[in-house]
């Protein structure tokens, strides 16, 4: 007959076994990845939503790819300039070639949705397209309102620029409760967003100016906040939310380029409420 020590002691002793030192290369990976990552400031919308959680491999891979391409390109150019007779049409030196600014690049390539990649939501009944330098993280849970103090972006389909997820777009939908009008729902929803811990009073969603917006032929409302923007539109009893935010400002308004890109995204959206999944239990309506 075996004699065991106290089971709790056995559990503790067993838990003591295992690695205790985080490898240096992993610390360096964190260092490299965060150096190019901007922090999200408190006045932004949805402070606990963060889509980068599952994208570390992407971030590292993209970062390494950028470095590799840059170094490779530089080496190639260096070789060419060192062998002037090889190429009848010498490649301009990178130091003399005019380099478009980031905003110019965005204007030239990102604002043309015909070059964007398609995305179809498996949960929320819409399809859209996103720019080539963006990534996506589909939702894994249904949208719940009021939003939880969650660290996960699981309730939203997320789109964001690779590496920084700035800007980030989000998309979701929910069936309007019976007897609740679109305007009443939207007003109540925006009130739930007025969290003093997140916003200054000047940035409260419930008091932000609204303007009309058209998404897939349906008219909704567009709210411009403080570095964030959100369009609400109804289709066949489903309320859709399409939002975006950026870290570049925390005061009322959004940068022109950010808004232009967001509005270009809205033009790609096709609503298909019939394909939206129903949550297992009805999500509570806004208070």
């Amino acid at each position: 007959m075996r004699t065991f020590r106290d089971p709790d002691d056995a559990i503790r002793a067993w838990l003591e076994e295992g690695p205790l030192v985080f490898p240096d290369q992993n610390e360096r990976a964190i260092d490299v990845a965060t150096q190019s990552m901007s922090q999200r400031r408190p006045a932004m919308r949805l402070p606990w939503r963060f889509p980068i959680m599952t994208t570390l491999p992407k971030v590292v891979a993209v970062g390494m790819a950028v470095v590799a391409v840059t170094l490779g390109g530089a080496m190639l150019l260096g070789q060419r300039s060192a062998s002037p007779g090889v190429d009848a049409n010498p490649t301009p030196s990178p130091t003399t070639a005019p380099s478009p600014s980031p905003s110019a690049r965005a204007s030239a390539s990102l604002l043309d949705p015909t070059t964007w990649a398609p995305f179809t939501s498996e949960r929320y009944g819409y399809s859209a397209a996103y720019p080539p330098d963006f990534g996506t993280i589909p939702s894994t849970k249904f949208w719940v309102i009021p939003e939880s103090d969650s660290t996960s972006s699981a309730e939203w389909d997320m789109f964001g620029r690779n590496g920084t997820y700035d800007p980030t777009w989000s998309a979701t939908s929910i069936r309007l409760p019976d007897g609740v009008t679109e305007d009443a729902w939207a007003d109540a929803y925006r009130l739930t967003q007025d969290d003093p811990g997140r916003w200054g009073a000047a940035c409260y969603p419930s008091t932000a100016p609204l303007s009309p917006v058209t998404i897939d032929g349906r008219t909704g409302s567009l709210r411009v906040g403080c570095g964030d923007i959100e369009a609400l539109v109804v289709a066949d009893g489903h309320m859709y939310s399409f939002g975006g935010w950026t870290t570049t400002t925390t005061t009322p308004g959004v940068p022109d380029e950010f808004r232009a890109l967001f509005e270009a995204w809205l033009t790609t959206i096709k609503l298909d409420p019939a394909s939206a999944l129903e949550p297992p239990a009805a999500s509570p309506s806004p208070r």
């Binding site: 075996r2 559990i11 205790l20 992993n26 922090q39 959680m53 660290t151 996960s152």
Partner: protein, 184 residues
């Protein structure tokens, strides 16, 4: 020291953040490994958690809550890792033959660890997290509740269930061999 680093990192001081990582990463790694039972996934979870820390730190309303907040991000990262890789490896072991004087104490220890490992892997990530935070880190139940986002009663319930499962695994491993019959 940590409070100062948190304040500086909140203001965007990346060097302070790097120091924070150095201060906390070993402990986070130990926790993540014990929840996930996988070195690479634990490393990924810690990296994800610290990237979140950097990104979201300006929104931490009370810097004094940093440690609980960090643990929360870490446990959530472990959950995500676990969900992404539901491939629990199957451990196959050869049963030692008992000698006339009973089983070798070293083999008993190996058996005990093996039984514990298998029992632990059968637990959900939520149960593992509670076990690790309680038995390994030594946190009070209230703090664990804050970290994993459930009431204290749920923490107690999970802890009771998980501990019971592990104890049962040990007890089963101690029982006479009904597990396998080896051919003579």
């Amino acid at each position: 020291m940590r409070a100062g680093l948190v304040e500086r990192a909140r203001e965007g001081d990346h060097d302070a953040f790097t120091e924070l990582v150095a201060v906390d990463s070993d402990r986070c790694y130990a926790i993540a490994y014990r929840i996930l039972r996988d070195v690479e996934r634990a490393q990924d979870a810690v990296q994800q958690a610290f990237m979140l820390v950097w990104r979201e730190l300006p929104r931490l309303r009370d810097p004094a809550r940093y440690e609980v907040w960090l643990h929360r991000l870490l446990v959530n990262a472990c959950y995500e890792e676990s969900n992404r890789h539901r491939r629990w490896s199957v451990h196959i072991r050869a049963l030692p033959e008992d000698g006339p004087g009973g089983r070798d104490p070293e083999i008993v220890a190996v058996d005990e660890r093996d039984a514990m490992e298998r029992a632990f892997r059968r637990l959900s990530p939520e149960h593992r997290a509670v076990i690790v935070l309680h038995h390994h880190v030594g946190l009070p139940l209230g703090t664990i509740g804050e970290i994993v986002g459930v009431p204290v009663g749920t923490v107690k319930s999970r802890l009771h269930y998980a501990t019971h499962s592990l104890r049962a695994a040990l007890a089963a491993d101690d029982a006479p061999d009904l597990r396998e019959v080896r051919p003579a």
